[in-house]
C-alpha cells in the first residue's frame, strides 16, 4: 500500500463501519491515522489492534469490525497459501482437514479454508485460465456455501475425534467433542471470510461490505434471529439486566439521602438548648418497584417470546418482586416456572407451553380473552406501585381487542408499557390492533437489542 492510498483506504473503511451502525467520528479517524503512523504497516495484527483501539467504543462491535477489517485490509490478494502443499481433490482436502482439526492448528485451518474456496467455491463464468481474468460479464464470485457443501466439515467430527482420542474415558471424550466442534465452527467462519474476501476483489469492497457482513448483534431482529444469533443475544442480555438493576438501585439509594425531618430535628435540638446540632434525616420509605410482565407466547412472535423470557429470567435474578404471566389464548402465571428454569433457558419456552394453561384450542393468540382472563384472574397482581410490561405484537387474529381490559389494567397500575416486536410501519395493518392499544397505553417498537436497551434504561421507572 503506498503512502497516498492508505488515508483513502482508512476513510473507506471508516465509512463502511458507519454503514454497519458503528458510529465513528472524524476525531476517531484522525486517531486511527495517528496510530497507523506510530506503528507502521508491517504487522497486520498490530494494525488490527490499533484500529480497534481507536475506532471502537464497545465490545459488541468487534465481530463486525473484524469482518470488515478482513475485507479492507486483506491478508493476501488472489489465491492465498503456497501451491506446494495444496490438496488436489475433496478427499485429500478432507484428510488434511481432519489432521488440522485434530491438532488445532489455526494457520493450517485458514490455509485449508482458502484452498476449499479456491477449489470448490467458484461460480459463474471465469475465464479458462482459472485466474478470474476471463470474461467480466455475468455473475461470478466465490461461494462459501458451495465450498462447505463439498467439504462438509461437520461430517468429519467422528474422524477428528478418533484422531484426538487419547484415553477412553467419557470425560476426555466430552472435552474432545466440544473442542472439535468449536474448531469446525472456526473453520466454517474462515471459509466464509475467505469467500467474502475473494468476492470483494472481484466486485468491489463496498458492495460486499454492505451485503455480506452481518449486522451487529444488537441490531438483529428478535423475530428473525437465527439460532446462533439468539445464543449471542442471550450472552448480551445478562449485562443488560445487571445494568438495569444497578440503575434502579442507585436511584433508590439517591432518594434516601437529603430530606431533613424538621420535627425530629427540633425535638433533638432541645437537648442542646435549641441549637440544631444534629439534624435528623427523614427515614427512607422502602418503595420497592414491582414489575409485572405479560408475554405473548404465540407462534407468530416465537423468537421474541424466547428472548423476552430470557430477559425476564435475567431480571428475576436481580429483583425479588417480579411476577411473570404468559398468554396465548388464556393467561397463566409463570413466575414459578421461570425461577425453576434457570438452568435451561432453551427448554423454558417449551415447558411453559406444556405446563402452563395458555390455550384452549390452538396456538393463535387471542388478546381479548387473554387480557380479560388476566384482569379477572389476578386482580391483586397489579397495584398502584406496579409497573406492567406487555410484550406482544397485538395481532388479534380478527378477534375483539378488548381495549377495556387494558384500560382497567392501566387504571390500577403505576405505569403500563407495551413493547411491540413489529416495525412501527406495520402497526395497524391486517389483524393488528396495535394502534388501538397504542391509544390506551404507550407502545414502543422493540425489535432488537439496541431498542430494548434504550427502553430498559430510559423508560423503566425506579
Amino acid at each position: 500500500m503506498t503512502g497516498s492510498a492508505l488515508p483513502e483506504r482508512l476513510v473507506e473503511f471508516v465509512g463502511s463501519l458507519r454503514d454497519h451502525g458503528i458510529p465513528v467520528g472524524p476525531g476517531e479517524t484522525v486517531d486511527a491515522a495517528a496510530a497507523v503512523a506510530a506503528l507502521g504497516l508491517a504487522d497486520r495484527e498490530q494494525l488490527r489492534a490499533a484500529l480497534a483501539a481507536t475506532v471502537l467504543r464497545r465490545s459488541g462491535q468487534r465481530a463486525t469490525f473484524d469482518a470488515l477489517f478482513d475485507l479492507y485490509f486483506p491478508v493476501a490478494v488472489g489465491a492465498a497459501g503456497a501451491a506446494a502443499d495444496q490438496p488436489r481433490d475433496a478427499t485429500e482436502l478432507r484428510d488434511a482437514l481432519v489432521a488440522a482439526l485434530a491438532a488445532g492448528d489455526e494457520d493450517r485451518l485458514r490455509a485449508l479454508a482458502a484452498a476449499a474456496v479456491e477449489q470448490f467455491g467458484r461460480y459463474g463464468s471465469f475465464g479458462e485460465g482459472g485466474s478470474g481474468g476471463g470474461g467480466a460479464n455475468g455473475m461470478r464470485g466465490w461461494s462459501a456455501y458451495q465450498a462447505l457443501d463439498r467439504v462438509r466439515p461437520e461430517a468429519l467430527l467422528n474422524r477428528v475425534l478418533a484422531a484426538i482420542r487419547t484415553d477412553e474415558s467419557a470425560f476426555g471424550e466430552a472435552i474432545a467433542r466440544t473442542e472439535a466442534r468449536s474448531r469446525i465452527t472456526r473453520y466454517r467462519e474462515a471459509v466464509q471470510a475467505e469467500a467474502r474476501r475473494r468476492t470483494a476483489e472481484l466486485r468491489g469492497r463496498d458492495r460486499i461490505a454492505r451485503y455480506a457482513v452481518p449486522p451487529q448483534t444488537d441490531l438483529v431482529g428478535f423475530t428473525t434471529a437465527s439460532r446462533a444469533q439468539l445464543a449471542e443475544l442471550r450472552r448480551t442480555i445478562q449485562p443488560l439486566s445487571r445494568k438495569l438493576a444497578t440503575r434502579l438501585a442507585s436511584r433508590r439509594r439517591r432518594a434516601r439521602r437529603g430530606q431533613i425531618d424538621l420535627r425530629r430535628t427540633l425535638r433533638r435540638s432541645l437537648a442542646t438548648g435549641g441549637v440544631p446540632m444534629r439534624p435528623a434525616l427523614r427515614d427512607r420509605r422502602p418503595g420497592r418497584p414491582e414489575l409485572v410482565l405479560l408475554c405473548d407466547m404465540s407462534g407468530s412472535v416465537a423468537g421474541f417470546a424466547q428472548f423476552t423470557l430470557l430477559l425476564v429470567q435475567a431480571l428475576s435474578d436481580q429483583f425479588s418482586k417480579i411476577r411473570s404471566f404468559a398468554f396465548v389464548e388464556l393467561t397463566d402465571e409463570i413466575t414459578g416456572l421461570i425461577a425453576a428454569g434457570s438452568a435451561d433457558p432453551e427448554g423454558l419456552a417449551r415447558r411453559i407451553l406444556t405446563q402452563a394453561k395458555l390455550t384452549r384450542w390452538g396456538m393463535s393468540s387471542d388478546y381479548g380473552g387473554s387480557l380479560a382472563s388476566f384482569a379477572d384472574g389476578w386482580p391483586d397482581a397489579v397495584g398502584p406501585r406496579t409497573s406492567v410490561l406487555i410484550l406482544g405484537d397485538g395481532r388479534t387474529n380478527g378477534g375483539d381487542p378488548n381495549l377495556d381490559a387494558v384500560r382497567r389494567i392501566a387504571e390500577r397500575a403505576k405505569h403500563v408499557h407495551w413493547l411491540n416486536p413489529e416495525a412501527r410501519t406495520s402497526w395497524g395493518t391486517g389483524d393488528s390492533a396495535a394502534l388501538e392499544y397504542a391509544r390506551v397505553v404507550p407502545m414502543h417498537e422493540c425489535r432488537n437489542l439496541r431498542q430494548l436497551t434504550r427502553l430498559v434504561t430510559e423508560l423503566l421507572p425506579g
Binding site: 467520528g25 476525531g27 476517531e28 486517531d31 495517528a34 496510530a35 506510530a38 506503528l39 504487522d43 495484527e45 498490530q46 488490527r48 489492534a49 490499533a50 480497534a52 483501539a53 481507536t54 471502537l56 467504543r57 464497545r58 465490545s59 468487534r62 488445532g104 474415558s169 467419557a170 470425560f171 471424550e173 466430552a174 472435552i175 466440544t178 473442542e179 466442534r181 468449536s182 445464543a231 442471550r234 450472552r235 445478562q238 449485562p239 445487571r242 445494568k243 444497578t246 440503575r247 442507585s250 439509594r253 434457570s342 438452568a343 433457558p345 434504561t457
Partner: protein, 291 residues
C-alpha cells in the same frame, strides 16, 4: 510532549513479561499506542481477565508509582481529588487563638492542610506514575464529568490554591466491567481495549508462569477443560484468574492427571453458580462415573 515509555510494541510485550504479565499482540499494541498518543486507556472485559493486573504490571515494568482510584457508587470529588483536613485546620485555629482573621485564613488553606486524593496525587507526582481508575462504571455519572476535566488537561483547580498542572503526565488506565455504559465523551477521549479470554497458548503460558511446578501435561488438560467450559453457555465463564486458582488447587491436591473424579471434586473452584456446575457436569459426562 514527554519522552515515551516504550520504543516498540515488542518492547512493551517484553517489559510486561518481565513484570510477570504476558500480553497478547492486541494488549501490547494498545498499550504502546496509549503511550505514544498520550491518551488514557479504557480497558473493558469480563471479570478476572487481568484488567487491574495490567496496570500493576505496567507500573512495575516502567518503574512507575501505581496510584489507584477505586470507584464505587457515591464516590465524590472529595474522595477522588482532594479534601481539606478539617480536624487539623480546627486544631490550627485553636492553637493560634489570638491571631487575626487574615493570618488564620492564609495559614489554614495551605498545602499543609490539603489531603491529596488519587487524582491530585497522580497529577502532582513528579516521578513516572501509572494512574489506575478501577471499575469506572461503578461511579456515578457526575464523577465521569470530573474525570473528563482532569484527564483532558491534566490539571486540577483548588480554589484556595490555584491551578495545579501535571509536571509529568501519568499513564492513565481506566477499567470497566461494562455494567453501565460510560458516557460517549469519556470514551471518545480514551483508547479502547476489549480484554477477552486469551488464546489457549497464551493462557497455558500464563498458568505455567503463575503456578510454577505444575506438570506440563496437567497444564495442557487444565487449559483444554477450561476452553471447553467457555464454549458452553454458562452464567459465568471461568476467567484466567479462575484457571490459575484451579491449577493451584490441583497442585495442592497432588493431582497429576485430570480425570472425572478430580474434576468433579474441584469444579467449584472455577464455576461459581450451582446451575453452571450442574450444566458442566452434565455436558462433561461426569455422572457416568457415579452411575
Amino acid at each position: 510532549m514527554q519522552e515515551p515509555l516504550f520504543g516498540s510494541v515488542d518492547e512493551v510485550a517484553e517489559r510486561l513479561a518481565g513484570a510477570g504479565y504476558l500480553a497478547s499482540t492486541a494488549v501490547a499494541t494498545t498499550v504502546f499506542l496509549a503511550d505514544r498518543l498520550g491518551k488514557p486507556l479504557l480497558v473493558e472485559g469480563p471479570a478476572g481477565v487481568g484488567k487491574t493486573e495490567l496496570a500493576r504490571a505496567l507500573a512495575a515494568a516502567t518503574g512507575s508509582e501505581l496510584v489507584r482510584l477505586q470507584c464505587y457508587e457515591g464516590i465524590d470529588e472529595a474522595r477522588a481529588l482532594y479534601e481539606w483536613n478539617h480536624a487539623k485546620q480546627l486544631l490550627r485555629i485553636t492553637a493560634g487563638r489570638d491571631e487575626g482573621w487574615e493570618q488564620a485564613r492564609d495559614e489554614v488553606f495551605s498545602e499543609e492542610f490539603l489531603l491529596p486524593r488519587p487524582l491530585l496525587k497522580a497529577i502532582r507526582n513528579p516521578d513516572p506514575t501509572v494512574l489506575l481508575i478501577d471499575e469506572t462504571d461503578k461511579a456515578d455519572v457526575e464523577v465521569e464529568g470530573l474525570l473528563l476535566e482532569v484527564l483532558g488537561d491534566f490539571q486540577v483547580t483548588v480554589p484556595e490554591l490555584g491551578t495545579i498542572t501535571a509536571q509529568r503526565r501519568p499513564f492513565v488506565l481506566l477499567t470497566s466491567n461494562a455494567t453501565r455504559e460510560l458516557s460517549e465523551a469519556l470514551k471518545r477521549r480514551c483508547l479502547f481495549l476489549h480484554l477477552d479470554f486469551p488464546s489457549p497458548e497464551l493462557e497455558r503460558d500464563i498458568v505455567t508462569l503463575k503456578v510454577p511446578g505444575l506438570d506440563a501435561r496437567l497444564a495442557d488438560s487444565v487449559i483444554r477443560v477450561v476452553g471447553a467450559l467457555r464454549t458452553m453457555e454458562l452464567r459465568k465463564a471461568p476467567s484466567i484468574a479462575e484457571t490459575v486458582d484451579w491449577a493451584r488447587t490441583l497442585l495442592a491436591l497432588g493431582a497429576d492427571t485430570l480425570d472425572e473424579q478430580v474434576v468433579e471434586t474441584s469444579l467449584g473452584v472455577i464455576l461459581k453458580y450451582q446451575s453452571d456446575h450442574r450444566k458442566a457436569a452434565d455436558e462433561l459426562r461426569l455422572d457416568t462415573l457415579l452411575s
